[in-house]
Amino acid sequence: MIDLSINFGGIKAPNPFWLASAPPTNSGYQIMKAFEAGWGGAVWKTLGVPVVNVSSRYGSVNYRNTRMMGFNNIELITDRPLADNLREIEEVKKYFPDHAVIASLMVESRAEWEQIIKDVENAGADGIELNFGCPHGMCERGMGSAVGQEPDVLKTIVGWVKEAANIPVITKLSPNISHITDPGLAAVEGGTDSISLINTIKSIVGIDLDSYAPYPIVDGKGTNGGYCGPAVKPIAMHMLKDLAQHPEISKVPLSGIGGIETWRDVVEFILLGATSVQVCTAVMHYGFGIVREMEAGLRQFMEDKGYNTIYDFAGKALPNVTEWKHLNLKHKVVAEINADKCVGCDLCYIACDDGAHQAIALSDDPTNRIPSIIEENCVGCNLCSLVCPVEDCITMVKKDDGTQSITWNERTLNDDIPVSFDDDRAGGKGHFVPEPSDALKKKR
């Protein structure tokens, strides 16, 4: 029996699909609608100091025919009255007592923190999330990412909150920092019950070519926004992994955020150690209904793999995410083209010839557009298989017999690493490269 319910650092929810603190959680109406649609939890749009918002708030990066591949915003925390939000939290909890309603908070002084914590606890919130992430607007006032970027300050505030709060506390981290483990560790030392990440990334998504202003444009000017959407997922997953592999930080549960849209994204985040996921952009793009695809996919995956709860596979990829120096240098793959599937676009040829290792040849017969791999030149970089537009046409085939393994680390210990530029043990030595002047001869 598959059971998707979770207990995330003391916050219980029927499933790990939560809405991130963002425009989709701006009101009780939206959150109730989301719970109806199947979401298991929601982090309320950040409550806190009074703000005023601007008009024109979002910008987007479109790629080919895909809208909002990346998305940025310059919206601040909620601009609705605190009393209204508190009343609606109470109402939502009345209708959905088993769903997780988490209040995201952002204030300045200790007194303010203590007051607002009391307020949301009285309203019935199941937990608190500390917004130390907003990289626009609020940080100029010393909040949001301004806190997330100062581990000492962050730790202090987490301490205040923990002292005041009776409900679990999640600390939300900003990715706008070199080492995510610094604020991560500070949060744990401050006593946080759990961590969520990532908040948005400082960004400029585009410049208007007529007004010369960055998007979104507010009366001829713009400012940096916070970047999210599918484009940021790889960065989020990397940071999640850093925390999940950290011996101290990994003691608290991690909620993954950043570009999650499909069940695959969800599974990947869980495999890297997340035990709840938060979604914003995908909902802003498609509405709450996307949770059905996520849930169905997650269930199917669990059924196929024989898992009952997400804890059965949470973090399962972590042992395989290692440092470069531990990779097997004897492993060898080369590309193989399935001539039956090949459509003859020759993108692999030009990608390899211009962008990799000149390991793909075209036929001398101009009517035959099916390229071939020059196996001895192929370094197994994958590029051709990545550019190929046909499903499963180019595959990377294992060539070593699997009996041998040596890593850089081991070679270093054995004193068997190249030490000079011309050392015979260096990797590229003897590898095929065309003569520079061949560039001028090659024509088809």
Partner: protein, 440 residues
């Protein structure tokens, strides 16, 4: 199968001749352009007779550089707008699209091309300038696609160009011959006007060159002469009763249709004789004009038809019936056509034989002969030393120069009847040939 009501108004005509490749809107163009894979040494470019850099212009459309896309197209093909909708793309660029190999619909290259160029034409975007005058003059005979392309290219090279055109409109068969559901008259004429505005060549309408004297005058006044006269009228079949009222040639029928639209009255029963693309067009058009029964009669089998399969399919979908292995032996009727007498044909020892013992009459009120156009042999015979081949096609060298060095030629006049895109290519190349010759 479609049933067409006889069109009596322009709106009804336009409905029956609805554009097969309508102008794309911005959204459609954006999404379609996004599908292009940007193939290396792209097969579509190789398949285009004018070698337009298709992946480049598609990328330009996608990045909202429509002007650049339009320039890329016109740089290779002066009739890029018309070609986008009249080219048989399924056997050219789009037929070569690699998507076909995975049963994914190919990129709609023609419509994207038409979209980009149409955008420039409608906004009167200036893309070209005539080259600095070199003081030399070129005469062009025929303002068809070949002649127009030659004129445009020659203008960019600094030549003064006068086009002598027999009819009263430019662009030859593109406006007088191509099926109305492929392109409208307005669209054809708009493109020529756009080019003419920028490049400033002169067209002398109603000015057929038909005599030795006229040719001699051109030879004196102009440094070089381009022959772009296309083909002639429909060939005579030599059938009994062919001169009866109600027997017309396909190109003549189509020309009247293109000029008069719904004012043309096509009678109830029509027989179209022929198996080429022109026959398919004429049959489709007769059906769309409200003929109750249109029969396509071809003397060989379906497999041996010269027409593209998609053109045949289009005729059938318009409600046309077909008869194969039949050959006309007489037109029956009393002054006015009442039917066509056919004999069956059969393949005997690899040769198509007419079986005179097996004949029958198909009743009809109109016979359209789509059995080929005559060549302009008479005109060619007036030009000193002009060599033609046994099919009356002008022979040219790879600079498009004829055996009379002052004359160059291109289009249907040299290939015996191909597509607009071939004529566009020839005209452009011939202008370069002239330039090379005059600058030797």
């Amino acid at each position: 199968m479609a049933e067409y009501k006889r069109p009596t108004t322009k709106a009804e005509f336009d409905k029956n001749f609805k554009q097969k490749k309508p102008l794309m809107n911005d959204t459609e163009a954006y999404y379609e352009a996004s599908r292009c894979l940007f193939c290396y040494d792209a097969p579509c470019v190789q398949a285009c007779p004018t070698s337009i850099d298709i992946p480049l212009f598609i990328k330009q459309i996608h990045t909202d550089n429509i002007t650049g896309a339009s320039k890329t197209i016109f740089d290779a093909n002066w009739l890029g707008n018309a070609c986008g909708v009249v080219c048989p793309t399924g056997v050219l660029c789009e037929g070569a699209c690699v998507y076909n190999h995975q049963d994914v619909p190919p990129i709609q290259i023609g419509r994207l091309q038409n979209y980009a160029t149409n955008t420039s034409i409608d906004s009167k975007k200036e893309l070209f300038k005539a080259g600095q005058s070199n003081g030399k003059k070129i005469a062009v005979i025929g303002a068809g696609p070949a002649g127009i392309a030659c004129a445009c290219e020659a203008r960019t090279l600094g030549y003064d160009v006068d086009i002598f055109e027999a009819k009263e409109k430019p662009s030859g068969l593109t406006v007088y011959g191509i099926a109305p559901y492929k392109i409208t008259n307005e669209e054809v004429l708009k493109e020529v006007a756009y080019l003419q505005d920028q490049l400033g060549f002169h067209i002398k309408y109603n000015n057929a060159i038909t005599s030795k004297n006229e040719l001699a005058a051109l030879e004196t006044k102009y440094d070089a002469i381009f022959i772009g006269v296309g083909l002639g009228a429909t060939r005579h079949l030599g059938l009994d009763g062919e001169d009866k009222k109600g027997v017309v040639g396909a190109v003549e029928f189509i020309e009247e249709l293109r000029m008069k639209h719904h004012e043309v009255k096509v009678p109830a029963k029509v027989v179209v004789i022929g198996g080429g693309n022109t026959a398919m067009d004429a049959a489709s058009e007769a059906a769309r004009m409200g003929a109750r029964k249109t029969v396509l009669a071809y003397r060989n089998s379906k497999e041996n038809m010269g027409a593209y399969g998609f053109e045949y399919d289009l005729a059938i979908s318009a409600g046309v019936d077909s008869l194969f292995n039949v050959t006309p032996i007489a037109i029956v009727g009393n002054g006015t056509v009442e039917g066509v007498k056919f004999a069956k044909t059969e393949l005997i020892e690899g040769k198509l034989q007419t079986n005179m013992n097996n004949t029958f009459v198909v009743r009809c009120d109109l016979v359209i002969k789509a059995t080929g156009q005559a060549k302009q042999g008479h005109l060619y015979s007036l030009i000193d030393g002009l060599d033609i081949d046994n099919k009356t096609r002008i022979i040219i060298n790879n600079e498009f120069q004829t055996s009379n060095p002052q004359y160059f030629a291109g289009g249907d006049a040299i290939n015996g009847g191909a597509e607009v895109v071939n004529a566009a290519y020839d005209g452009k190349m011939a202008a370069q040939g002239i330039h090379n010759w005059l600058n030797k």
